[in-house]
Symmetry: C2
Subunit: 430 residues, 2 copies
């Protein structure tokens, strides 16, 4: 093959326009890295008039025609969403073209089918930008750690919620107030549901778990809780026990009698301030990885934004371009382990519970009995009295999540318990 | 090709024995990841009698014969040192075999020739384990960030010196005392020269700079200062300005009038405690990366030890095995940018200087004049008096290193200066 490699760019929004800037501005440098010049074949958008900066002859609204054009070698999909992104990817594969994407929603929804289609066509499907923006995490999982056995991934993979929780900790504000500030500063979208309710983090968790455990995991397999129920009290209670509240994406390999399974969940949790993830503030992302031989690793950087995300897209683009030249696609994604996904109810977790109780003899005993009845053992209890009322702060040992939540329900019914003022899971405590 | 892929293991010490354990214990898992079984063809050592755990029929002292055996597909070199490691690698390439190595000394010394030999033979040369042990950093640089423009890498890449400096900060001990403790606990070798004098870090810096800037950089190009001259006073002074002392490996792209150049150096420096690298304690390693589009990234984990290093070796082994099966080697290392290496004297740095001076009018003016004479501008001055003596603590702006060191020499000669009590570079201050 000679002549330039031609790239079809699908979408030219926040990410696409940053990709285009680099593709055009640093074409020589990229060409040197690939070993062959690269050139933009066309840019598909919805509203061409909104893109005065893009050379008119490159713009098209017919993404399908662009993808299947004979002279196009590689496709970059940064439209987002499920359709038409999925059909466009499948059309690219069928036409023998490798795809680079940043589309976490689609990959988490339908990764297995898309990988199968790419493998069938003998082309590459890369999507480093889909998880944690600029941070190289998928390639390290797919390639660097492929000789190791992963046991656990804990990530802060959503900048919006991390910003909100950081502000709640700094200012003592409640969720609503911190969200309003984030919206005003542009850290949260007008409709913040995808971020705040954990959908974005759950999609990323599914992708991370699939790669880490060689097991197909889709967004629907992920237990998901958002941060809108996190209160100023939760944040204050966390500080009292030397912890901070983070929205965590957790992917674990859980050993079991009938073989290992994987548990994948997204929820707010208290982590000790000494944990490497605790100091990841503001809109930054970080992914903490535990592997059998490698031990503890952490990857840190910017999780969003046009330029950082474009860095990841371009790294993938160079990789698939090189593979295109050698004629051999890179390693696909393997699902050979195919572990069972463990339901949240059976996943071991630990709870932090704060109760207002009557300060009478026997109350602690009754509360402790309720935990014991559900087979949940207690790690620490702190009791502080004020007048005829007292506060009990309890941290449990690890137990199946269902047993813990059943305990909470039972506590709420106890006459001696005036109120359950804070319930949050705890991670990373020894 | 059918049948198992056969691996020749050269060396079976700290790293080699951990690699062998995984190759034998998790052969099925590795085979699934590669798509073909893997098998150990032989293990070359110096003293077979010292290896009772290795099946006798695998042991050999003739590494050269093992490497060139027809049935060997891949070679893992974990002997270390320059010879015979280099000759063995070259023999492997000539015989058409890809090599995985952990040998920073050799790669930093002779990387260009080795890469050329591998490229000529159409095989792979991977060495993720050579820098920062288990931390995936070379692959992210070579592949994930290849579409970006790197401006700076700052790494804590030597666990021994990081342990010693961490202990000095925690206990107020001097270098000698902290080194003795590290030796006793096994964190420092009996002959600690390679670590303490910065040779190990310099080799890693050369490898990082070569990959980051697409420019051949060898260990000899790296300006190197160790930590044996760091005093308890330096560490205390650092704390006073909200800093901590670390041995840093710094690789920079420095813009210049006649084009960019690279500056690569290893020396102790003060960094602000708020910097992500400041909290990397004990024997951990971390590499901080700044790229144009990606922004700031950090990679953190265990930098040494048999198991963590084996994790990196095995990741490389899976990669080269897969390439072997597709028949296409991975991307080589490019030196196309071939930037000039800037000498330390011309590299911009900042100094922290602490002086005991006579507390007389005009002393500060005279000292400040000395800086001005060398064209070094001052960022902050702190003066604390005691009796007829005073201490001046000065942090400069950035200036060519030669101008800074000339200023220090001149200060030592000034009658009003009773003593220069601490001189250390400062990094990461705004
Ligand atoms: N933004 C980030 O920080 C970030 C970070 C990581 C990953 N991502 C992922 O990157 C992808 C793109 O995100 P973004 O923020 O760049 O989105 P965006 O700003 O909304 O841009 C979307 C682009 O797609 C175009 N488009 C929409 N429907 C189309 C259609 N049917 N045919 C052709 N073009 C169409 C739009 O065209 P018009 O401009 O004409 O409307 C627009 O240019 C998403 O998958 C997102 O999850 C984003
Ligand atoms: N140790 C770490 O934490 C670490 C971390 C990162 C990278 N590395 C790198 O990994 C490499 C190996 O380090 P290591 O700590 O495993 O070294 P090591 O414990 O000293 O082991 C060296 C091995 O090589 C064998 N050997 C020496 N000369 C030989 C020869 N001429 N022919 C055949 N075998 C020979 C030795 O045989 P005998 O056992 O018979 O003496 C021994 O098994 C070095 O390049 C090092 O820089 C090490």
């Amino acid at each position: 093959m000679t002549g330039p490699l031609k790239v079809a760019l699908l979408g030219c929004g926040t990410v696409g326009s940053a990709v285009l800037r680099v593709l055009q501005g640093q074409a020589d440098e990229l060409g040197a890295r690939i070993g062959r010049p690269v050139e933009v074949a066309g840019v598909a958008v919805r509203r061409p008039a909104h893109h005065p900066d893009v050379p008119a002859h490159l713009l098209t609204t017919d993404a399908h025609a662009l993808v299947t054009r004979d002279d196009v070698d590689l496709v970059v999909e940064v439209i987002g969403g499920i359709e038409p992104a999925r059909s466009l990817m499948l059309a690219a594969f069928e036409a023998g073209k490798s795809v680079v994407s940043a589309n976490k929603a689609l990959l988490a929804d339908d990764g297995v089918a898309l990988h199968a289609a790419a493998a069938k066509a003998g082309v590459d499907l890369h999507y480093e930008a889909a998880v944690a923006g600029a941070i190289p995490i998928l390639r390290p999982l797919r390639e660097s750690l492929v000789g190791d056995q992963l046991s656990r991934i804990v990530g802060i993979v959503n900048g919006t919620t991390n910003y909100i929780l950081s502000r709640m900790a700094e200012t003592g504000a409640g969720f609503g107030e911190a969200l309003a500030e984030a919206t005003e500063l542009g850290y949260a979208e007008a409709d913040p549901t995808a971020d705040v309710d954990g959908f974005d983090a759950a999609a990323k968790a599914a992708i991370l778990a699939s790669l880490a455990f060689h097991t197909p995991v889709s967004a629907a397999d992920v237990h998901r809780e958002g941060i809108s129920t996190v209160t100023a009290t939760d944040v204050a209670r966390a500080a009292e026990i030397g912890c901070t509240v983070k929205l965590l994406a957790i992917c674990e390999r859980v050993p079991g009698e009938d073989g290992d399974s994987v548990a994948v969940r997204v929820h707010p949790a208290m982590i000790p301030t000494s944990h490497p993830l605790a100091s990841v503030g503001g809109a930054f992302n970080a992914v903490f990885v535990e592997a059998e031989a490698a031990g503890q690793l952490m990857f840190y950087g910017q999780g969003a934004g046009g330029e950082p995300t474009a860095s990841a897209v371009l790294g993938d683009l160079v990789a698939v371009a090189r593979n295109r030249m050698t004629g051999a696609p890179g390693p696909g994604v393997t699902g050979y382990a195919n572990l069972a996904v463990r339901p949240m109810a059976e996943t071991p977790t630990r709870y932090h519970v704060s109760l207002d109780v009557a300060d009478k003899p026997g109350v602690l005993a009754a509360v402790a009995q309720e935990f014991a009845t559900h087979d949940v053992s207690i790690s620490t209890v702190r009791q502080t009295g004020r007048g005829d009322a007292a506060t009990l702060v309890i941290v449990t040992h690890s137990a199946p999540d269902a047993a813990l939540s059943a305990t909470i329900s039972a506590l709420r019914e106890m006459p001696a318990v005036r109120g359950v003022t804070s319930v949050l899971r705890v991670e990373g405590l020894s």
